[in-house]
């Protein structure tokens, strides 16, 4: 898994690239760890740019759930954006759209999270 981050306005945008499958789920979780640690109440909201993620399995979804729950427990704010159509369908079918806010574009995500920050 590859990660790239940038600070846009008040939002930390993390671009994830690759497949979050059974093999890569732990790498996703580990790669996200420093961003999660910083995403606390009053801190910078976290936007996951999923435009480079072309597959997510149940184990990957579990990792995503752990990320969301950890951030939630810290009173931080997190969302996903620019999800590829097939991955978005998987998020919908698994009901993850009820767990994490999904924005159509990175700009929309930044605007929404920035307004909440």
């Amino acid at each position: 898994m590859e990660f790239q981050s940038s600070q846009i306005k008040a939002v930390t945008v993390v671009v994830a690239r690759g497949r979050i499958d059974h093999r890569q789920a732990q790498a996703f979780q580990d790669g996200m760890a420093p961003y999660i640690a910083a995403c606390k109440e009053g801190g910078s909201p976290l936007l996951l740019d999923f435009s480079g993620v072309d597959y997510i399995s149940s184990v990957g979804l579990r990792s995503l759930m752990l990320v969301a729950r950890t951030v939630g427990a810290q009173m931080g704010k997190i969302a996903i954006a620019a999800v590829q159509p097939a991955v978005r369908e998987v998020l919908q079918i698994s009901r993850f759209h009820l767990v994490l806010k999904i924005h159509d574009t990175v700009d929309a995500g930044i605007a929404a999270l920035g307004a909440e920050a």
Partner: protein, 327 residues
């Protein structure tokens, strides 16, 4: 082999209500009104049947509400009067009625019941299973729980039920099987696997005449545990049909309902794809779901299978009370 579903609902039996029926009738009539301009649509009985078929199952039928009970018809002529069942939820009452109609009280039958576990929704139909009251019938209850016999006898005792277990007319035997042991029943080899559920549950695999059916309900899976996943993939391997506990959405199963002992449609598809299974039948439906919602889950699960397919297609079905699947 043929698999016949007598009870498919999880946790507690449910029934559609008068309000549900009225909504179905209203929707059907609206559809009839909209199609009235099409010549011959409802002109004869065949047209009416075609119209009903076109309404879709959630409107023209119902998934039903009995708790777990599945019949495995071996198709083995040598099996004679031996019948195979999985679990004795409320659906076993209707199964018992059908057996009484077919054989009457005079023709003695043997019923082999394979218990996933002894939680209430899986044993509650037993006191209403008419063949247990008929002398000469033989009921063999197979299971892996040491307390198998106790659970059935306790349910039958006062103050829970008026007819004590000792008064049942049939010959009832309990066969406690050690996990990993197999049985040969009515020409079918039966093996079992321990599953994650409160108090443990067990999956059953039935193999005969080159066909295989897996009954795996009340089972929570952790696919992040590769070793555990491999055990289940091996158990499901190349099965013609896997009957799978798909009670919750994945998001619920790994968050608010984690450790509740049930699984999801997503995990059902993934495990079956890994195991090269031919057909997946979702089972143990959430009692809060109405017909429309179960139908939606089925459509979404078929789409998920399509999105994630890498080899042969996995056929995805959703069980309903009365469904028959030829294997």
């Amino acid at each position: 082999m043929k698999v016949r579903f007598w009870g498919t609902r999880g946790s507690i039996p449910v029934s559609i209500t008068a309000k549900d029926v009225r909504a179905k009738i209203a929707a059907a009539l609206r559809a009839a009104r909209d199609s009235a301009s099409e010549e011959g649509t409802l002109g004869d009985d065949a047209g009416i049947e075609r119209f009903i078929d076109g309404l879709g199952f959630a409107l023209s039928g119902t998934y039903g509400g009995h708790s777990s009970c599945v019949e495995i018809e071996t198709g083995n002529e040598d099996a004679g009067n031996e019948h195979l069942l999985c679990d004795m939820g409320s659906g076993v009452r209707a199964f018992g009625e059908s057996m009484m109609k077919r054989y009457g009280p005079a023709r003695q039958q043997t019923y082999h019941v394979f218990m996933s576990h002894v939680h209430w929704d899986h044993i509650m139909g037993f006191p209403y299973f008419m063949p247990v009251y008929i002398p000469g019938n033989r009921i063999v209850i197979h299971g892996c729980h040491a307390e198998l016999e106790h659970a059935f006898k306790r349910q039958q005792a006062v103050p829970s039920f008026p007819v004590d277990f000792s008064l049942l007319g049939s010959n009832i035997e309990f066969d406690v099987i050690a996990p990993g042991e197999t049985r040969s029943v009515a020409g079918v080899t039966v093996s079992t696997l321990k599953q994650r559920h409160s108090g443990d549950s067990y999956g059953w695999r039935f193999e005969g005449a080159g066909k295989s059916v897996v009954y795996s309900t009340d089972s929570e899976h952790r696919l992040e545990n590769a070793e555990e996943t491999k055990v289940f993939v091996d158990f499901f391997r190349n099965a013609d049909l896997v009957i799978f506990d798909a009670m919750y959405s994945l998001a619920d199963a790994i968050s608010v309902k984690a450790d509740w002992g049930h699984s999801s449609n997503i995990l059902g598809v993934e495990l079956c794809q890994m195991a090269g299974v031919r057909r997946l039948c979702m089972f143990h439906h959430e009692p809060a779901y109405d017909d429309g919602r179960i139908d939606n889950v089925l459509a979404e699960t078929r789409r998920f299978e399509e999105i994630t397919r890498s080899g042969s297609a996995l056929e995805v079905l959703s069980a309903w009370d009365g469904l028959e699947i030829a294997v």
